[in-house]
Amino acid sequence: MNRLLAWNRWLGWGTLLLLSACLWMVFHVPMDYQQGNAVRILYVHVPSAKMALFVYLILTLFSIWYLWKKSETADILAEAAAYVGAAFALVTLVSGSLWGKPMWGTWWAWDARLTSMLVLLILYVGIIALRNAFDDTVKGGRATAILAIFGAVDLPIIHFSVVWWRTLHQPPSFNQSASGPTITGPLLPPLIWMSVAFVLLGMFLLLLKAREIQQRRTLDAMELERASHA
């Protein structure tokens, strides 16, 4: 794990390069004939929404791994994933809101996907809060892992219940089989590259946060050691 963390800075530089290239592309795609310049928000909104969900999947896998193998690495990565996921969920909601005002005429609507994303954000915050409410890392890690797995079971139920309840959102632009507007032509390649850049960004942030957590835990252990000798 330490070797991986040492290499992370190169991942960081690579992500920065790719993100800059993507941003350049985003500002050079033609305007959408209906949405105008506002369409450019999509290049941040869609990749962060996908990452907010994808990071939850990762969080669940680390949690299962931790409960199963009691590996501290898994625990640290799960703790880091909660922060990264919360950040992506927040970016999704804020960017969506900025787009919603000119396009839908409202900052917020109780639509299915908006509601699911909001619940996901609260869930991430709850996971972080639960972890921080324990002094004992083993107890905290176990409680958080179980909560994360229950959240993973709950998310599909939340999703389907709010889909039945409210649906106003655009159908997904990636899904070519859906009837309704789909993204094609010059607008599509930047989205694909941006998604790749966001995956790299997610990995970079995850490892960066993991390193911080690892160092903090080492410091806490040293502190305990010193206190017990004094």
Partner: protein
Amino acid sequence: MLKAIYRLAWKDVIADFRHRSTFSSMLFFAIAVLLVFQAAFEPDPQEAQRLVPGLLWSTVLFTTILGLGRVFQAEEENGALEGLLLAPLPRGAIFFGKWLGNLVLSLLVMTMLVPLTLVLFNVTIWGHVPMLLLLLFLGTMGLTALGVLLAAMTQTARSRETLLALLLLPLVAPLLIAGVQSMNSVIASGSLTGPWLNLLLIFDVVYLALAPWGFGWLMEE
């Protein structure tokens, strides 16, 4: 094992009526919540009828959180949880015992809450009371199953009552939606069927099946 579950639940219910008095706190808290809603919305009888499902479910949700905060309190204060865990019972049985005790108290509160709400808000839909109660009972089974697990999860944490509410509310969002929608359809058409009832049942089944398993992991030494 069923007998052990029943004994454990009965112990909690009896202890509560003798001195812990979670039941009366929950009941009067529920009435206070109704007062808050009345002061906040001042609904006339027609509006009140439309609001009844939401009023009932939000009051039930808040009241249940209050009760859940105390599920493991006695065990925590007297170190009795270790004793309970040493009992020759599977962890799942201990979970179901705690769950059943909490469920009984919550259901008693709800049985009083429904007529009280109708009286206090001047809503005359007395014919629907059995259906409304049935829906609340069904919803509360899943709600308390998840709630008791979260109570166990947060019992040794700092500021556990705040955490319990923060964790429970997003996770029970589907239950709340399904509960309110199925009550709406009962009040509108008088029938108790449809996708919302199914969702309520799915939620119950999922959490009653998974929560004992989660409890087992949580209490592992």
